[in-house]
């Protein structure tokens, strides 16, 4: 059985550098969410650090559009699994460099452009289980803030979550390794055999 690493957020440069593909991690601390609209906005409008209410330096950005219920006591997260990361491939490298992110979390992995940016700044990509939204919501202990709720709506807003023992696997590391890339290469060879000579 693989050893599980406990990782505190925001990620330190040392922690990020120490993570390798295949590592199972339990994340605790604060992270922010962001998906299609947040990425488009960050890259097109370049808001300064002072314009964003959360500190993105060293932060983990989670590709997630949660189901949130507003109660008298505040916001309650009902379901919060990952969304497909590849949709923001065209933006992510710029976002990582500009805002100093040290981690991305989502599902399905990302492409070469993001992999190079991770290596350049010393950041990692975590994959968590797609569709496991109720289970993962149970690892979110607090909604600590939200940005762009009115403009983007609850699905696309940037949420600040406090999480505890949130399970994830490092699938792209800061040393240029990607499990997604490896598996795609192996499956492509199988595909060529199965589909006949093409």
């Amino acid at each position: 059985m693989v050893e599980v690493k406990r990782v505190g957020l925001p990620l330190s440069a040392e922690d990020a550098a120490g993570l390798r593909v295949g590592d199972m991690a339990l994340l605790s601390g604060r992270l922010v969410t962001g998906r299609d609209r947040v990425h488009k906005y960050l890259v097109e409008k370049h808001p300064g650090k002072g314009d964003i209410p959360f500190d993105l330096e060293g932060a983990v950005l989670y590709h997630c559009g949660p189901v949130i219920k507003k109660t008298d006591a505040g916001y309650q997260v009902l379901a919060a699994g990952p969304t497909t990361s590849m949709r923001v491939e065209m933006y992510e490298a710029d976002v990582i460099r500009q805002y100093g992110l040290r981690g991305i979390m989502g599902k399905g992995g990302m492409g070469d452009k993001t992999l190079r940016a991770l290596q350049e700044v010393g950041a990692v990509y975590f994959q968590t289980t797609g569709g496991a939204a109720a289970y993962l919501a149970d690892m979110i202990t607090e909604v600590a803030g939200v940005w762009k709720l009115e403009e983007f709506g609850p699905t696309e807003a940037m949420w600040l979550f406090e999480i505890r023992d949130f399970p994830a696997v490092v699938t792209m590391d800061s040393h240029g390794n990607s499990i997604h890339k490896e598996i795609e290469a192996v499956s492509f060879e199988k595909f060529r055999t199965l589909a006949g000579k093409i």
């Binding site: 919060a80 992995g109 399970p167």
Partner: protein, 281 residues
């Protein structure tokens, strides 16, 4: 149609928060098949734990409660217009009550309607039935897997896919190879073959409503369904794309007649969280 509206709201709740028994069984079967202590086994265990937690607490099992797709069988004499209104009202109510994630976005203003209704949203297909009961089937189709779908116009030279079932097999494999782990495997795949691209897209998606335990009525098609499950699992993409023995749990194929000059194949990719259910009224 107040009571019917309540029934549809409950259908939404059930479909959003519980995995159909045949799909859950297939996930359990996949877990038994993966190597102990592997990432694939760990992923499938989390999936099963999630299914249990969502069902026990009536929460959406995936945060993407998807595009609602209705297949409605209407007895003679019932107004489809009224049924559509009732479905729209139930959708607004279910969005609040279940709750569902609001997913209907205006193309021009980029504004989310906030209640899962809009132009062509939800998707509703009506068909008249000779029986006396109104049958409402609902699928909540997640967008991660919807985005992985493909349409092919055979022949496709790059795949050496000719206009025959062998060509269809290559198209389905190509779709899964392109999807990798991005659309939440282990997958359920719906395949439609026929004369026009609108028709095969609908046919492919409709196959996702079939129980995983059934197989196509025609021998050749049933054989292709089995062959494809075996071929796809050879790819080794595995649960959530981390590698493993189960990439597809099921492949469902349906065919229509085609035009001599056309051979369209559409593949609708379904994630493991294949949420579907039926209300009989």
């Amino acid at each position: 149609m107040l009571k019917l509206r309540d029934g549809i709201v409950e259908l939404y709740r059930k479909v959003a928060s519980s995995l159909p028994p045949d799909v859950e069984e297939a996930v359990k079967g996949a877990l038994a098949h993966e190597a102990e202590g592997s990432g694939a086994a760990a992923t499938l265990s989390v999936i099963l734990e999630n299914v249990k937690r969502a069902r026990d607490t009536f929460r959406p099992l995936c945060q993407d409660t998807g595009v609602p797709v209705f297949y409605v069988k209407v007895p003679f004499g019932l107004s489809q217009k009224e049924l559509k209104n009732t479905i729209m009202e139930a959708t607004r109510e279910a969005t609040q009550k279940v709750p569902l994630r609001p997913n209907a976005v205006d193309i021009i203003t980029e504004k989310n309607s906030g209640d899962n209704t809009g132009e062509g949203f939800p998707v509703i297909y009506f068909e008249e039935t000779s029986g006396g009961a109104l049958i409402i089937d609902l699928m909540l189709k997640g967008a991660g897997c919807e985005n992985a779908g493909q349409t092919y116009k055979l022949p496709v030279e790059e795949l050496a896919a000719q206009r025959d079932l062998e060509g269809v097999r290559k198209c389905v494999l190509d779709t899964v190879q392109k999807a990798q782990g991005r659309a939440c495997p282990p997958y359920i795949l719906g395949v439609g073959i026929g004369a026009t691209k609108d028709q095969v897209a609908r046919l492919a998606k409709e196959q996702l409503m079939r129980k995983l335990t059934d197989s196509a009525a025609t021998g050749e098609i049933a054989a292709l369904e089995r062959q494809l499950v075996s071929d796809i699992n050879e790819l080794g993409i595995g649960p959530m794309g981390l590698g493993g023995r189960t990439t597809a749990m099921s492949v469902k194929i349906a065919v229509n007649h085609r035009h001599p000059a056309s051979y369209f194949v559409d593949i609708s990719v379904g994630c493991w969280a294949m949420r579907r259910g039926r209300l009989i009224w």
